[in-house]
């Protein structure tokens, strides 16, 4: 599997990562190498094999419906890059 610079750009966009033009060829070659490496999986016959998403095959535990959290806005927003009037601020979103 070999990725073009353009494909790397598309993936980087989907992942919201800025990649400098100059770095694209290196990413393309590294990612292509990794994908070729993982293509080795194709050697295994997995017909009819049920995928395993979690190592522990047990059901999900549920919690009771109760409010257990208190307001910690000051604490949480102390680490925020930009807040005003209790809101997190981002560059204007146009809908």
């Amino acid at each position: 599997m070999s990725l073009s610079n353009e494909q790397v750009n598309e993936i980087a966009h989907l992942a919201r990562l800025r990649v400098d033009e100059a770095d694209l060829p290196e990413y393309a070659s590294n990612l292509s190498a990794i994908l070729s490496f993982v293509d080795a999986m194709n050697a295994a016959d997995t017909t009819g094999v049920e995928p395993l998403a979690h190592p522990l095959e047990m059901p999900q535990r549920l919690r009771e419906d109760a409010v257990t959290e208190e307001n910690q806005r000051e604490r949480f927003q102390a680490v925020a890059p930009q807040v005003e009037a209790g809101l997190y601020l981002v560059p204007r979103v146009i809908e």
């Binding site: 980087a12 919201r16 993982v38 295994a44 997995t46 995928p51 998403a53 997190y88």
Partner: protein, 486 residues
């Protein structure tokens, strides 16, 4: 013998006997971290004042008769564990300015036991790496040879313990990140069964693979630490509600008749002959202890690495989406618009390996590729688990090398991700299956430590620790200290 040469068990005994105070030993470790150990770059943050305060509190607790076995024993936390009011960077520029508003469950448990946190150890960025070279804070040096890497991702923890900068440290293991650096630094490191230790407050790399565990000099120390760290936590829905055995009390079992499997795939072409020799010698020791060896096959071992390098990046690509420059962490200067904010904050905040893995994962999950990559990898995962389950029908434990080679030089593999990935050839399958595994020092190759890996069945940490401890009763590899740090 200086205080910093003691194991956790020895420190616990000394504290209990009043031979020294927690404050004294804490001070000794802090001095060593800033003195002889400083060049190793093992720590990202040293919390000296807090440590001394905690040490004094531990000494008070002991005076008031309220102490547990580990009260007053210092340790270091890998910087992936959230520590309230202390920077938690995960080895990344992204979190260089992040002070966690809460403690990880593991951190809480250690605190409750009265342990004293010395600081936060260096690591591969977001735990993605096998050499500690991807850290934003620079590489960690191997105390045995400062040209060499300490392994990764818990390289700072391993180096700190090996260099006696801390008697113990926490680590996390997603594909070998406790066991491989433990092997490369000549210490003992345990990766528990998935679900044994809560992941709450442990910054996620790959959620279905990540597991925290102890790193120390001996199996006995790891047993003591696991007792403190393990246990049910309702904040992690993958945490298993199951009693925690007194591991440290269960180290006395005989190994007579213990059936141990040697997977032929772990002794194949990729294995360094020097490492193979060390492992053979260890097998000899175990035979003397009454262990019965039999050859087994874990047929899909080689394909575990490719499967892992789909699953882990897929999960990480999603787990790391929350680092977007909005609510915490790094934000780029003067973003033009929202997209610019996302792309530059993430582009500048993450290092190259993290970006590579996010992109691989993004690709593997994207429309049209999901079945060929992600689904295929999960099917491989089932086959790999089945291999282990079949093996454990016939054997009690599995033994092999932890890493195919001893520590390599800094820079040697940094430019070749795939070559780097193969460092985890023998450790990765254990994570895919969620099994417990331990690495213990078994000798040297070219002057660099070699680790022996034992793999157990689910929740069989007791048996693993017992087998490791028995070996350490008859060998002294675990007592060796790097020359510069003896």
């Amino acid at each position: 013998m200086s205080d910093t040469s003691k194991t956790v068990a020895e420190l616990a005994a000394g504290l209990a006997a009043g031979t020294f105070s927690s404050e004294e030993i804490t001070r000794a470790y802090l001095e060593r971290i800033q003195g002889a150990g400083a060049d190793l770059n093992a720590f990202i943050t040293v919390t000296g004042d807090r440590a001394l305060e905690a040490a004094r509190a531990a000494d008070d607790r002991r005076r008031s008769g309220d102490a547990g076995p580990l009260t007053g024993v210092p340790l270091a936390h890998k910087d992936i564990f959230c520590t309230r009011d202390v920077r938690t960077s995960c080895g990344s520029r992204m979190l260089d300015n992040f002070t966690a508003p809460y403690d990880a469950h593991v951190v809480e448990r250690c605190q409750q036991a009265g342990m004293v946190c010395l600081g936060k150890t260096n690591m591969d960025e977001f735990a993605m790496g096998s050499s500690n070279e991807t850290s934003y804070y620079g590489p960690v040096k191997n105390p045995w040879d400062t040209d060499a890497v300490p392994g990764g991702s818990s390289g700072g923890s391993a180096a700190a313990v090996a260099a006696r900068l801390a008697p113990a440290a926490t680590g996390t293991d997603t594909g070998g990140s406790i066991r491989q650096p433990a092997a490369l630094c000549g210490i003992t490191g345990l990766k528990p069964t998935y679900g044994r230790v809560s992941r709450y407050g442990m910054i996620a790399f790959a959620s279905s693979l990540d597991q925290g565990g102890p790193m120390a000099r001996t199996a006995e120390d790891c047993a003591l630490l696991l007792e403190a760290m393990a246990g049910f936590d309702e904040r992690d829905s993958t945490s298993v509600d199951r009693a925690v055995p007194r591991y440290s009390q269960e180290l006395t079992g005989s190994l007579q008749g213990l059936r141990v499997g040697l997977p032929k795939e772990y002794f194949g072409d990729g294995l360094d002959p020097e490492v193979a020799r060390v492992i053979d010698a260890a097998i000899g020791e175990y035979r003397e202890l009454g262990v019965e060896f039999r050859e087994i096959s874990l047929a899909n071992t080689e394909l575990a690495v490719p499967a892992y390098y789909v699953i882990a990046p897929a999960e990480c690509s999603s787990n790391l989406s929350r680092f977007d420059g909005v609510r915490f962490g790094y934000r780029c200067e003067s973003p033009r618009d929202l997209e610019d904010l996302y792309k530059r904050s993430r582009g500048e905040g993450f290092g190259a390996e993290v970006k590579r893995r996010i992109m691989v994962g993004t690709y593997a999950l994207s429309a049209g590729y999901f079945d060929a990559y992600y689904r295929k990898a999960q099917q491989m995962r089932r086959l790999i688990k089945n291999d282990f389950m079949a093996a454990f029908e016939d054997v009690d434990l599995i033994l092999g090398p932890t890493s195919p080679t001893p520590a390599f030089n800094i820079g040697e593999r940094a430019d070749d991700p795939v070559k780097m990935y193969l460092s985890d050839l023998y450790t990765i399958a254990v994570n895919l299956a969620g099994l417990p595994g331990i690495s213990l020092p078994a000798g040297f190759a070219g002057g660099r430590p070699v680790g022996l890996q034992l793999i157990g069945n689910y929740f069989d940490e007791g048996r693993l620790l017992n087998a490791a401890h028995r070996y350490q009763q008859v060998t002294d590899w675990h007592t060796r200290a790097p020359g510069a740090f003896a």
